[in-house]
Assembly symmetry: C2
Homo-oligomer: 215 residues x 2
DNA sequence: GGAAATTTGTTGTAAATGCAACAGAGGTCT
DNA sequence: AGACCTCTGTTGCATTTACAACAAATTTCC
């Protein structure tokens, strides 16, 4: 198997990488766009290429987007996803490659104290810190009570990340509503209001935030 | 310094613990009830005793409770809290003891490959997995669009955790509203409705969930 | 190129929510 | 014991929101 470039393996020499793949039971799997990706139970999934959405549909058919996992995104039953019984599921938004590593094997105390073993655990800490960051951001956005405030909080965040009042949404407006946990039509109504007031200009996924008006 | 029993140090022999405290710059700090706890910048805080709330007040004075950190809870600027500039702050809900460990030191590749070093990193992964779980739960609750659904989702979760339709809220009803990100009076109104319909019985922090009515 | 699916956009209406203001109960502290 | 503070509880009202239903534009896929 050729070497997989992933944050999880960062800092490993070629030699260490070779020994690691023997020692760890890593699997690289491809998922086609639109396919549902099973929630790994005893393993940790790391998105290597492509994009995966973590979603939930509740008993009333209301859909929510929890996370967008890009390259480096980690997921698994031990990592927050409360399993499919609660309505959670994963969907590949594009053709994906996902790396699966046995969780117990990572967490087992290594008798040989291999240097690469602890490197991987450290890298996992970094990936989980990123995930924590993403979840906190989402929480921060949902903490706002009105649709307008949620939109503004999210737009400000995207503008800050791209260091540009012009930016592109990572998903369609329909999905944006699911991410903000608001009704789509209500969101569109509010977006129309904001457009009218000159707060934002928005065309499909392209947004311009007029920050000077937001004070 | 006497040995601190913490998940972070789990699996360490006494000897390893002794060497660890030298190698790592761990600090144990006490925080009085009601005190504000500074957000650690280059370090990771681990709640050893007591309870800490992660909160935010936005520009309109709206308060949100993001997390309740109990024993084992981890926090820090690298772990989601977007720093005080965004209005985040920590408050000790009870007298607390918090363990601070230098983040870089944990993440540095250890030249001696000490066994205890990698044990601590592994333990940190476990603590962060718990945090991810807690954040995901909160997100799941906020994903519901109505106050009633938020309340029910939260109550069901607490009932499931305590394996008992009777359970105790971890905070006051006032704070519950801040956790659910809804207006307090609106929440109380909805609680009154639910009480009237026989869905729940609630007295201060004591709740009984009548699950048979919830289908 | 054309059919099918998805996305964007709009509107009416009933219901839910935020906001403000107030009153009483319960707890805490000295 | 009393002052003070926080928490619980209630209500009116204006606004926001969810829900439903629909039309048009755009993208995807064969």
């Amino acid at each position: 198997m050729e070497k997989v470039e992933s944050t999880l393996f960062e800092g490993l020499t070629d030699d260490e990488y070779a020994r690691m793949t023997e020692c760890f039971k890593t699997t690289l799997r491809a998922h086609r766009k639109g396919e549902e990706v099973a929630i790994p139970q005893g393993r940790v999934g790391v998105v290597h290429r492509g994009r995966i959405s973590v979603m939930k549909t509740d008993e009333d058919g209301v859909r929510t987007i929890f996370e967008q996992l890009a390259s480096g995104g980690v997921f698994g039953a031990m990592l927050g996803i409360a399993a499919a019984d609660a309505g959670f599921f994963l969907v590949a938004e594009e053709d994906c490659e996902v790396l699966y590593v046995d969780y117990d094997h990572i967490m087992k105390r290594c008798p040989k104290a291999c240097a690469y073993h602890s490197t991987i655990v450290r890298n996992l800490v970094r990936l989980m810190a990123d995930k924590t960051q993403a979840l906190s951001e989402h929480l921060e956005i949902l903490s706002h009570r009105t649709t307008r405030d949620k939109l503004m909080a999210y737009f400000r965040m995207l503008a800050a990340k791209s260091r540009n009042p012009y930016f592109t949404l990572p998903f369609s407006q329909t999905n944006l509503a699911d991410y903000l946990c608001v009704d789509r039509s209500a969101m569109l109504r509010e977006l129309a209001n904001m457009r009218r007031e000159g707060l934002v200009e928005i065309d499909r996924r392209n947004v311009k935030l007029n920050l000077h008006k937001t004070l």
